[in-house]
Symmetry: C2
Amino acid sequence: MDDAGLGLRSTMLDLGRKARQAASGLRAASAEGRTLALSAAARHLRSAQEAILAANALDCETALETGLPPAQIDRLALTPARVEAMAAGVEAVAQLPDPVGREMARWTRPNGLDIARVATPIGVIGLIYEARPGVTADAAALCLRSANAVILRCGSACLMSALAIHAAFEAGIVEAGLDPFAVQLVATPDRDAVGHLLEGLGGALDLLIPRGGRDLVQRVAAEARVPVLGHLEGVNHTYVHAAADPDKARAIVVNAKMRRVSVCGATETLLIDAAAAGALVAPLAKELAAAGCALRGDGRARALAPGMEAAAEEDWRTEYLAPILAVRVVDGLEEAVAHIAAYGSGHTDAIVTEDPHAAERFLRDVDSAIVLVNASTQFADGGEFGFGGEIGIATGRLHARGPVGAEQLMTYKYVVRGTGQTRP
Amino acid sequence: MDDAGLGLRSTMLDLGRKARQAASGLRAASAEGRTLALSAAARHLRSAQEAILAANALDCETALETGLPPAQIDRLALTPARVEAMAAGVEAVAQLPDPVGREMARWTRPNGLDIARVATPIGVIGLIYEARPGVTADAAALCLRSANAVILRCGSACLMSALAIHAAFEAGIVEAGLDPFAVQLVATPDRDAVGHLLEGLGGALDLLIPRGGRDLVQRVAAEARVPVLGHLEGVNHTYVHAAADPDKARAIVVNAKMRRVSVCGATETLLIDAAAAGALVAPLAKELAAAGCALRGDGRARALAPGMEAAAEEDWRTEYLAPILAVRVVDGLEEAVAHIAAYGSGHTDAIVTEDPHAAERFLRDVDSAIVLVNASTQFADGGEFGFGGEIGIATGRLHARGPVGAEQLMTYKYVVRGTGQTRP
């Protein structure tokens, strides 16, 4: 390791030590103290709006020069409204019930032992994310609410924005008298920093959360020496059932695809029942095309909407994050469920139907983190679920699944109160 | 890879495929079907008692010849009472509420979306355990209750016993008309089988649970390509506080150490407050010695009980699983908590005190999976918690902590019911 490498290593281990110490402090701090820090952070984010937008303008300039794809620039760019939404999100988290020490269950055994399952913080969390500046504030807020210390590592394309957001957030923590190292940001774009996080910072990290594309998540899952909560891509489906209400179907499909194409809850494949396809494919194709969406269909879909491009096998597995929609005509619910099982990523899938039996079968048989009936897949979001924000949508099967909010960043312990019991 | 290696690989991948298929079947099976299978398995375990004991006698003979340590032989040896306890445990699991499809939470959003968090099985679980035959039945029962398929890999020293137990259990599954591949046992002592499990059996495994010594758990955590639920050693403490009731303290300490020395909930270190040590160390030492326990103390403990061996630094970190107890005199609760944080394994720790403030501080400040007041650490057990059994005691901080029963072997999904909502 050269001098720069040794310097980075020492910097990263130092972040870990400070986070570990801050985690102890957070655990001992009162819920009120953490609420105050969150309210103060929201205030500082608002008053730092100009500085944040100026830093973001620098990031966007560099991104345009380096030719970042449009979907990524959409995720990167901030506006006054987005900064305000960020501050409002932190305020919403401040209003959430404090999860620390919450009794999740309590029961008494025949021998008189009183057993409680009590929520406790995980400890120190490392979050590796891509160039989405808003994640900085969301993640900091949720970790603070759950009394976890966090080390943030953003994509280098949003480093200037993240530094400005972090500075404002930190000012709130300091104002409330808490340890400023509760929320730390890796302040260098050096890619080797990720390697240090994967190694666990000398035992300081309890959990790593990769939030981003398949390559990042798979690298973290393969190389991490600490537990991982994976946030994989969303190859999401909306299935228009034979008994769908046509107006609802059109509104839901257009919203699920086009409301914002760069979010992980966007629908990427439309499955449409043969019984509904005749009446719906042509008007839907027209409406989507008018909204700027390109369609790639299977043979039966193309027969109903001339001019539609042909979908290749690869399209069924693709998270476009772009105004492109794959379209396939299926014969019934079972075929739709089978398609989702074969090609989906277990993120978010919806059915549109007025038939309650079909709805319940879909909800039962599709084993994704989020399954919906008669609603847009774009509701896949912690804020929309009432979590006050999210650190991402977990697509693994362990610990947490779906939107990860403060409650999902907790572990628990068993508290057993006895009166002298010994075990026979 | 030689022919034998290729053969093992193909056998293991086949186990994975069959488990994956069985998992689908289990999910579709009714709760009643799984309850029937569990009751039938308990019946078959009882009627196979002779065959199980005969197989176990072979295992014990080999173990004695190869010089297995006494604690491991204690864990290996079965008696008619232990086989009966095994069957009763399976029956207890049959009586548990079925966790599949349980609504864990449900709420309505201002926009009318009805959101439910619903428990669903994890899928296919691999369990790697040591030479404890009873784990075979416990794990099979809990996985069946939670509708997970399981692949069991036992320590080679108990393979004969495990095969006999597995055969009886499988007969119950078949009798109930369920897929016999729901519970599979790796039928070879070949150590390379573990390597295949670590690689995930071609994507078939959703979760690996290592249950055993530090070496096994650390190897699995380091090498596994699938999520891991670790079951580490129990370096457990009983802290006798200044305000302890002396009779309770004596009864609890003797039980916590000596009831069964080979279980992970056994106390390994006694911390005794300086204020209580004068009156308690000598009689406790006498009582423990009479029960066959060797003591290793720090200087202050030895001054109070002549003849006590000196403890070395290493003793504070040791899970003896033997009739040995490390003893240290501490000055107050804070020192006890600090000792546990420094040397404990986050498994199970107890305080004996009549002071409710001291009790609550200990319960809050000791961050172990199980913390107790005025009760024996040997209660660290899923059965004692009312879980009808356990697959082990998880010592990690993710997904599940403490006793892992059927409820802890579930994941969840969000079921969202709408009436046409789109996201603004």
